[in-house]
């Protein structure tokens, strides 16, 4: 009956599936959790959508830049909700005091991270798909019409959200629930710097290099280029991908370093405040 220890896989899809199943059971058992996935993205989209509708009827530029605001809101939501989806799944383990069980099990950090990444996509899909359909119904803005560009935008934004989510999870592992606020607020630091709603040239000159060091900036610039000038710029997506790979590697390295530190300081046994 006992599991064999002769051969211990370095990466087990079965263990990843076990964690995904655990989060799926949790989501399925709680309608408030499901509703929460859709609620805020819908409110955001409606607010910004109506604002854009108002501006577009009053200025020629925004009339030409149709969909920029709604597009920005939807893409921002991918970035924000992607990170939040990752972090909330992780926080569920802290809230349920289950982390000790997982850390003591054969589950490896990369398997845990993989399950959290997949679940962030699942959670995002549950929230984003209905909202994108509502954007078509209310404002005639079809995000899916962006085609392959949308795939590039999505992939880059998800990579950023995972990198940040992984690092924040490490902070919580090391520092306990006192670091929980980072999970909710860290992405808002990115909002002004990644120029979600305005071009990078709006920023003061000294701040622009900071903006260009962040992968989402390339995505939002690329979106504006596509929606306003009708030009898809693959070079922006490649630059974003390069930066994202560095950021992702840094996030994983940070997580592993914080996990090692948590073992040294005994933090894994004290997952409270």
């Amino acid at each position: 009956m006992s599991a064999s220890a002769e051969h211990v896989e370095a990466f087990s899809p079965r263990r990843v599936a076990a964690m995904m199943l655990r989060y799926w059971y949790l989501l399925r058992s709680s309608w408030p959790r499901l509703l929460d996935l859709v609620y805020w993205p819908t409110v955001q989209m409606l607010t910004w959508g109506f604002l854009q509708y108002y501006i577009a009827t009053n200025t020629g530029f925004f009339a030409r830049a149709g969909g920029t605001f709604i597009g920005a809101v939807l893409l921002w939501d991918i970035l924000f909700r992607g990170q939040l989806g990752f972090s909330i799944s992780f926080l569920e383990e802290m809230w349920s005091r289950n982390l000790g069980n997982l850390m003591m099990s054969p589950l490896r950090p990369f398997e845990f991270i993989t399950a959290l990444m997949v679940m962030s996509v699942v959670r995002l899909s549950i929230g984003a798909v209905p909202v994108t359909l509502l954007a078509i119904a209310f404002f005639g803005f079809n995000l899916y019409a962006l085609g392959l560009a949308l795939v590039a935008f999505f992939f880059n934004l998800m990579l950023t959200s995972w990198a940040i989510g992984i690092f924040v999870s490490g902070l919580i592992l090391r520092n306990g629930m006192g670091a929980e606020n980072f999970a909710w607020s860290i992405m808002f630091l990115f909002m002004p710097l990644t120029c979600v709603y305005y071009p990078v040239t709006t920023l003061p000159l000294w701040l622009q290099p900071v903006a260009w060091a962040l992968p989402p900036t390339y995505v939002f610039e690329g979106m504006r280029s596509l929606l306003i000038d009708k030009v898809f710029q693959p070079d922006l997506m490649l630059d974003a991908l390069g930066l994202n790979l560095v950021l992702f590697a840094a996030g994983v390295a940070g997580f592993l370093a914080l996990l090692r530190s948590a073992r040294r300081h005994g933090s894994l046994m004290q997952t409270g405040e």
Partner: protein
């Protein structure tokens, strides 16, 4: 036959738990201060001590959750925490400080943990644990809606899901009524005997320790104060119960103090 196989394997295998001069210092405070002990296969041992004696840190180090400052901890031959993935599938634990997710049903929890531990024929294993721990009627109920005693049995089912060779238990019968606690003790005793599993348990229930354990390691301020069978400890301290021995050790009025007088 299974037991014989384990005993034979045990003769040539490394000890289930071997701790050598373990030191763990948090900042400047030593939580564990140079303890050494080895457990033999199939044994049931208690780790006793007052609050802050170093029990939790010792158990956490054995589980690989804490890195030692110096010294070594080996479980089934693997150095912890560096080689933990070699042996984590053969270990498990239960503690009142860690819970199984409350929103999931008992069956869902056991399925998830069974998959994490790579348990073969998981459906049958869950049914078997349901029968053994009297959980069959509770399998499809959310864990959070169970009574404290039922939850303890679920935690125990989780701890036994992979039929571990090394079982670490922290207060295994806390919050159980005397009848259920007695039943759980009997089950654990039977499990260790049938499977020749090794069990290390931290408990403040001295009756439990006397009944279950063949060896008692008493910790005080991170050091081993005494280490013997319950019967020999009673004789040495001239006491009738382990609780009295515990108090002697905790208050420093034990054998050494008497010898000094």
């Amino acid at each position: 036959m299974g037991r014989a196989r384990h005993i034979c394997a045990g003769m040539s295998s490394p000890p289930p738990i071997a701790i050598d001069r373990l030191v763990k210092i948090y900042k400047t405070i030593p939580a564990v201060d140079g303890i050494s002990f080895t457990l033999r296969p199939g044994s049931i041992t208690a780790l006793l001590g007052g609050n802050g004696a170093g029990k939790t840190t010792t158990i956490a180090t054995i589980m690989g959750l804490v890195t030692p400052t110096s010294g070594s901890v080996r479980v089934l031959g693997a150095e912890m925490p560096r080689q933990r993935y070699r042996v984590l599938q053969r270990m498990n634990f239960e503690s009142p400080y860690v819970e199984v997710p409350m929103r999931l049903t008992v069956r869902q929890n056991l399925k998830v943990f069974g998959m994490l531990y790579g348990v073969a024929d998981l459906k049958e294993r869950i049914a078997q644990l349901g029968r053994e721990l009297n959980l069959t009627d509770l399998l499809d109920r959310p864990t959070g809606r169970l009574s404290a005693g039922q939850k303890t049995r679920v935690s125990l089912a989780k701890a036994l899901i992979n039929s571990p060779d090394v079982l670490l238990l922290d207060e295994p019968t806390a919050s159980l009524d005397p009848d259920t606690a007695d039943w759980v003790r009997a089950h654990l005793q039977r499990y260790c005997r049938d499977r020749h599993a090794t069990m290390l348990l931290a408990s403040h229930n001295m009756n439990e320790v006397e009944r279950l354990c063949e060896r008692v390691i008493m910790l005080k301020r991170g050091r081993i104060e005494d280490d013997d069978t319950p019967a020999k400890l009673l004789t040495r301290y001239g006491r009738r119960t382990l609780e009295e021995v515990f108090l002697d050790v905790a208050r420093g009025s034990g054998v050494e103090s008497e010898a000094a007088q």
